[in-house]
């Protein structure tokens, strides 16, 4: 992979130039949290941050979107999507891995054309980060990216080492050549030191060996209902998860009682009506069953279907849980119980 160097002092200018001809999205301060939002020249781009509240999925699977309009006599009209080129700047490796997982769901097999349109028009510029006490991407193997980005910037002090992941990414460099320099041996050494230093900073760890097998065995564990006693079923873990993609579909009718729009909106398997079906039967009536579903889907079902866990270790679910549920701890407890029963 070709690498170049972007002096830190040139980043501001690089972003300002990218904003010409592209819709540019950058991490910014929003109240007490960090949020991906549209860039304008007065934007204060935050290059050192832990995690945005909502992951970048909101740009590909919007929280609520109209899919098509309908009207008697006119039939269906699909909502047009913008084709303007868009750049998402500042995605951490976990969030890029999150998009990879969403791609598997929305682009492989049955293609979701709404997602595809948003994905096709978007370039990804990744950015390195250091973990806090909730991060466990190195446990999930999502602390590095080798593809699914156009450029990736690693902060090495005064300079960014820039990995080029696509021809379109390469074009961004060629169009702004005056801002970049060639890689030096010193920088490559610094990059290796950065990786080694970073890997020592993780406090949160998750042993993923055999995890999906263990979860399958622990279907009936009392842990689920026990943990769910704390669960507010508020759905915040689902909304903030980079790979939770469930949505509900409904019609919004106009006051003529005939025309309207078919819409979809994010939902969560933690909500009581999620598994409610016609006739009034609910497949997951208890909070414990619903919490189990969320964890099983991430760490077991996704492994079975896609060969890879849907958890990218970003830590959002546990960082944003008002009840203080730590998903790593829940999984570790389940493992502990199973090893005891095997020995016993």
């Amino acid at each position: 992979m070709r690498t170049v160097v972007l002096p830190g002092s040139n980043l501001e200018e690089f972003l300002a130039r990218l904003a010409v001809g592209h819709e540019l999205i950058v991490p910014q301060k929003s109240g007490a949290s960090i949020s991906f939002a549209a860039y304008d020249p007065s934007s204060e781009v935050v290059v050192e941050y832990q995690r945005t509240l909502l992951p970048p999925k909101k740009f590909f699977l919007p929280p609520e979107e109209a899919l098509f309009d309908f009207a008697p006599g006119e039939g269906f009209r699909q909502k047009p999507t913008s084709s303007e080129r868009r750049i998402l700047f500042g995605l951490h490796p976990c969030d890029i891995h999150g998009l990879r997982r969403l791609d598997q769901v929305f682009l492989e097999g049955y293609v979701d054309t709404y997602y595809q349109a948003q994905r096709d028009r978007t370039l990804i510029i990744g950015l390195s980060c250091l973990p806090d006490e909730m991060c466990f991407c190195n446990s999930m193997g999502t602390d590095l990216v080798t593809d699914h980005f156009d450029l990736f910037l690693t902060d090495l002090g005064d300079n960014y080492l820039v990995e080029i992941g696509s021809t379109e990414g390469n074009d961004l460099i060629l169009d702004n050549e005056d801002l970049f320099a060639e890689t030096s041996d010193i920088l490559l050494r610094k990059y290796k030191v950065f990786l080694a230093t970073r890997s020592n900073l993780f406090e949160q760890k998750l042993d993923t060996s055999g995890l999906s097998n263990i979860l399958a065995l622990e279907w009936d564990s009392s842990h689920w209902e026990e943990t769910a006693k704390d669960c507010l079923a508020c759905g915040r873990c689902s909304m903030t998860c980079p790979t939770c993609y469930c949505f509900t579909i409904f019609d919004e009718v106009n006051l003529d009682g005939a025309s309207g729009s078919r819409c979809r909106r994010w939902t969560s398997c933690l909500y009581k009506n999620y598994a409610l079906v016609a006739g009034g039967h609910n497949f997951r009536p208890s909070r414990g069953a619903r919490l189990r579903q969320r964890i099983m889907h991430k760490h077991k079902d996704s492994v079975e279907r896609h060969g890879i866990s849907a958890c990218v270790g970003c830590g959002r679910c546990q960082a944003h849980c008002a009840a203080g549920i730590n998903f790593c701890q829940v999984l570790t407890s389940l493992r502990g119980e199973s090893s005891e029963s095997i020995v016993g």
Partner: protein, 231 residues
Amino acid sequence: MKAKPRIGIYGLTSCAGDQLVLVNCEDELLTILEAVDLRSFVMAHSDNPEGELDVAFVEGAVTQESDLETLKDVRSRAQILIAIGTCAVWGGIPYLSGMGTPLSDHVQVDYAIPGCPIEKTQLLKAIASLLRGDLPLSLPHPVCLECTIRENNCLLQAGEICCGPLTAGGCNARCPSLNRACFGCRGASHDPNYVSARQILEKHGFSVNEVRQRLALFSGKAYEKEGTQVG
């Protein structure tokens, strides 16, 4: 063309704030009045013929014999009865006096639009669905869904008595988005975990009384059922 649906709008014990929301739909009122046959609506006109109705909207709690008589009479004449406002849905503030009861304690309620007051958007969507011949969609999510989508910091996590996780969504997280904790004015969500909420708030240093006063303010009935089981 089928006949316009006959609508009646009634108030029991309440502040009439929910009926006012309909009157305040100024941009949509003419469209609505063209689509429906508005029979009884004491707040809006003086000639109020009482008879068979396709849809009745009823605001307020039942606190006295006359409320109950009105409610039973409306129910007997209406195909669909919709409770509007937290007083009608949960008993609301009158419930705190020990005298106010929700409509569903006395008659069958076909759909509930909670809120203090109700949200104009939810009312209009409900009317549109009814005109199409559907019961309106229920909104089963708590306030936290819309609050998180708006990327608000969690006020409960920050140590405030925020009722968001216990409260029916649909207000687009009006108060938390202004950095004010949710008061729970829309009544209980489909799945309020009062026990956990109380434990979280007690950890934040609030007394049992403070917590009860806030959590039970609008949804006393749901809180009594679910929230008092543990300690």
